[in-house]
Symmetry: D3
């Protein structure tokens, strides 16, 4: 039995509210249960120095967490003077994941920065950031299309992510913090709308996991991502 009473393959309630940031070219607030992440996409007319004049665009991401998004207050990274290894790892992951859905030639020499700020955390923040970040990115890209700045939409496929893990000896989908903190393995899977694998990250916490457990987690993720892609579609259409 999961602490939340959910089935092994059941996502938490998902909602994606678009247009929440008046200044950003694209934005949404994604809620996966009690995990709430504000995602904004900002367009700049130039790419980083190391890729100038390549004709290609760039999508990058930054991740942050408000100090009291968590059960006990975390020290503010800006005050500490650096981003933690965890933060950097997560934002590198988000950026890689989102780029998997972008045609960088169509985007042209522009950079879109997706900021994912965790307002409230209850497990799975990096996956929520990817799923919501894609919506913000897509909305920003549509703005480019409407303004006639790109010939077609450079966002060519959905990208969404979900966590899995082994809890109580059994693979389960979309862990909340209560499960995550006692899980025997922790996985984050990023997939496209057409079912391709973008990123698979699985870590044992304690004992190693088996190939069979890996297989079950991939199946759970496949199912979960499909629902998240549907939620993205609905959000974008309703925007």
């Amino acid at each position: 039995m999961r602490p939340s009473g959910r089935e092994a393959d059941q996502l938490r309630p998902v909602s994606i509210e678009t247009g929440v940031a008046k200044h950003a070219e694209g934005s949404c607030l994604i809620r996966m249960g009690d995990t709430h992440v504000l995602c904004t996409a900002s367009i700049e007319d130039r790419t980083p120095p190391w890729m100038r004049n390549s004709g290609l665009g760039w999508v990058t991401a930054e991740y942050g967490m408000l100090p009291r998004a968590t059960n006990t207050r975390n020290r503010r990274e800006a005050a500490l003077g650096k981003q933690s290894g965890r933060t950097q790892e997560i934002q590198r992951l988000i950026g890689r994941a989102l780029r998997a859905g972008v045609d960088r030639v169509v985007l042209g020499e522009r950079q879109i920065t997706v900021d994912c700020d965790v307002i409230q955390a209850d497990g799975g923040t990096r996956c929520a950031a990817i799923t919501g970040g894609w919506v913000a990115l897509r909305l920003a890209a549509e703005k480019l299309v409407r303004a006639g700045e790109v010939s077609e939409n450079p966002i060519v496929d959905h990208v969404a992510a979900v966590s899995c893990g082994i809890h109580g000896g059994r693979p389960v989908l979309d862990l909340d913090y209560a499960e995550d903190s006692e899980a025997g393995a922790d996985a984050n899977i990023v997939m496209t709308g057409s079912g391709g694998l973008v990123e698979v990250q699985m870590s044992a916490e304690g004992a190693p996991f088996s190939r069979q457990e890996l297989d079950v987690m991939l199946e759970l993720a496949h199912k979960g991502v499909a629902q998240l892609v549907a939620a993205q579609k609905a959000a974008v259409e309703g925007a």
Copy 2:
């Protein structure tokens, strides 16, 4: 005529929504027009090293702004590796202001950290942070009272803040960004619920201002703070 069509002494619509952060001991989202600040109060059972064993409590504040809270994206301070002078100045102000309403003997050897994170900015963020921060602080203190950890409420008076400025040659209350960016003087006034002055900061932008203009700005602020204190009362009672 003000860009927003408001009267010279008219605040923007104010709303204070409490209980927005599930983990924090006290929280609210304050909206002054399009300026939205999320305020949380976190209680710790010990004070900073330099005041241990004094019997006194401490209240401090931290301030941040999401990168795309503004019209063009700001670089993330955590990524830059330091808080700007502006950020430090603002959070020092918020902390000083909030301490003016606290009986530190009653609070005892505890620290309450008030985090003020600007979700969306349209001028007056530091004043909104103080006004909202007080509500979060008050709610956290009530939690201490209910738990029997303090003998009485250590928050002894309201503290609220409002900006004024000279726009179009005329003193006005509660500037939004459009006014602020072309104001001839910029003021932030912090007052208590009983009308005492906690902090007065007035800066000329361009030409100096006169003593008479200062007097009018103080009157506007007096009026504005009274309304904000009323909004605080309503929010705390409704929490």
Copy 3:
């Protein structure tokens, strides 16, 4: 009775010695009692990147304090690896204050950096830095005039600053450290030679202050600044 035996409206002895730094375009050592600040003005032929090609000049300030300027040694900011929030707040104030006396069009695309280094501290260092910094700035500007690099003097008015506070329940002018450390309110007021207000900063320390106390402090400051402007005039003429 003030610890120093001064009247409520009495400044400490002021002296401004010019030409103390052989390399700088303008310099002075200002002494307000035992507070001694070395001020130098350095001219560069270009402005910061963000204002290039605007035709405007820029005046900025940096503030420092020698480690043993104070009663107990402070850690050196260069060794700590960052300037404190207090230092940044003060140098931002000095820069804003000095710019209030400058015609940036006349100055042209030049930057003048005013360095204010506290050699010895006994309260009121930021005010002494502004008053002395103006003298260094003015002398540097005169050098530009003499060299024919500007058509007229870009320093169009005096800028001077003085502190006030409430000590022993009574507003007093120009607090030394003994008073400052037990003051009930602390104010720094910056004015021009023609009596305009440039910056008003008043903070309660402990109990809030009243509107009436504010008024008396402004009167004291008005009187004090007039004397400081006279001292500036004498220093510049004697240079």
Copy 4:
């Protein structure tokens, strides 16, 4: 055809030379083809503050790369003033991986730090660091056993890692730099001596990869790790 002429499932020549660092409690130089990593294990008699008095030991890792380990010189992280996100991600991975082979109760309140410094790089440095780091760790643990400081060997299983990827449309094992830089997917798999999965990290570079490709990569890794575990055994026995 692979650039190196190897079969799809063929490792590069592996050598593990132990005892290369006179001061360290355990050390080896691991060579996977032209990738050379110096691994040392250092024992301290206390654990990090946050786990004191838990009775548990800790194993952590740090990773570095000499500036000219690569084809073009990289800037030295010590000179830049911070470790890159990539470095932090890798050393967090190494630490997690090595801990999977440790009985922290048997280790007791000690910390073993495994330093992995890349002397020369030709792809797969993080996997070589894990495989070699385990040898250094094991040798240090044996020193504790011989000294009678632990009751039995706290290193309870082998941990080794290998990279896989999709090159020229085909899954291959143990990519060198020439392959890695043009791979369509990049994977790092960490396993125990008994065949359990410790960490699976797979990233698409460009197009997503399929579930079938994932399966083949896992098979290749399984085979490669078995050979690396044999090399570890030989190295430890010969030490």
Copy 5:
């Protein structure tokens, strides 16, 4: 002919003014021609953590230069966020040099920090800092003696320093900036009052120097230090 018209073995005019810093336990302003260094000594009742409970005292030094001490303004190290390699090298030298004159057993578990801040620079600042720093240190030590906190004076010998160099092909003493910037070799020699060598640092600038040139520089330094020691004696006696 030297730019200054001095003889090869002629020091610049030296003056040492004591008691210039009201708060410090010992202080002086040393002037070697146009090089002016403010030296203060600050006593603390505890030594750094790594030498606690050894019974020994410690003397350390910090060095700084005001931004406009030089011909063109240098960026402030506190603003840059770190001390340059040059600054660190100099302050390590000053500390080592001063410790050569201290009986650390007599000093007991105290630390004396000597701050040397260059107010104006014209070559030879590190040597002036050592010579003046010793005076500040000695005066602080005398204060300990007068207060009965040490049984005898822990400063057991003079320590003074002078620069030499090869200018125009000829060894000369005490280079000013004009000479220093075109010197063929640059030396700093630290000696005790009794003629022992504490530190010899000689660097070729361009062509190597000969053993014979080294010998002449040591003779010049010997002569110069003797005069500086006499100036120290006079300053301490007159304090």
Copy 6:
């Protein structure tokens, strides 16, 4: 008797193995007894900004030490976020020393960076770095000659370095760590192949040293450097 049983004027066994780093333009591993330093030279086609368009080349050096090169583990400078004063002092010395053997006009607008990384330390690492660094530099320069990028070899003379010290009251050559840690004086002498002095650094540790001791140390160094130059010659010829 020296701890190692060596004569006072006897170097430790020296070996210089070239071509140890596949990617670098020049490289060697120098061993002075148990001190092992890996030296690489990297050529870039441009010089630092401050010397562009001067027609001159530049040689610079960086120094690092692996965390467990020493008896107890040192914290990694990259993790600490800064290079220590000691590191900076050493790499400045190496750079100055190597430049003494370079004709910067012949080198042309190129920069060669010599990285010296201590793999294992047993005293005298900075001297080994200079001696080995010169070999790496020379080999890189020969590559430029062979490629026809320079008209003749810009490395015009050998540069080598050796330490001396006073141990057990007697000057000795090439101290290992056991001697160095109890030496009464510590010297590093850099000379050219033709016997010129490039850098002399002598520090008293405890009591001052005499002029006579200085003379003996210079003689020892002279002898030691001659042997190191011979080893450099053999290494370069054998490369």
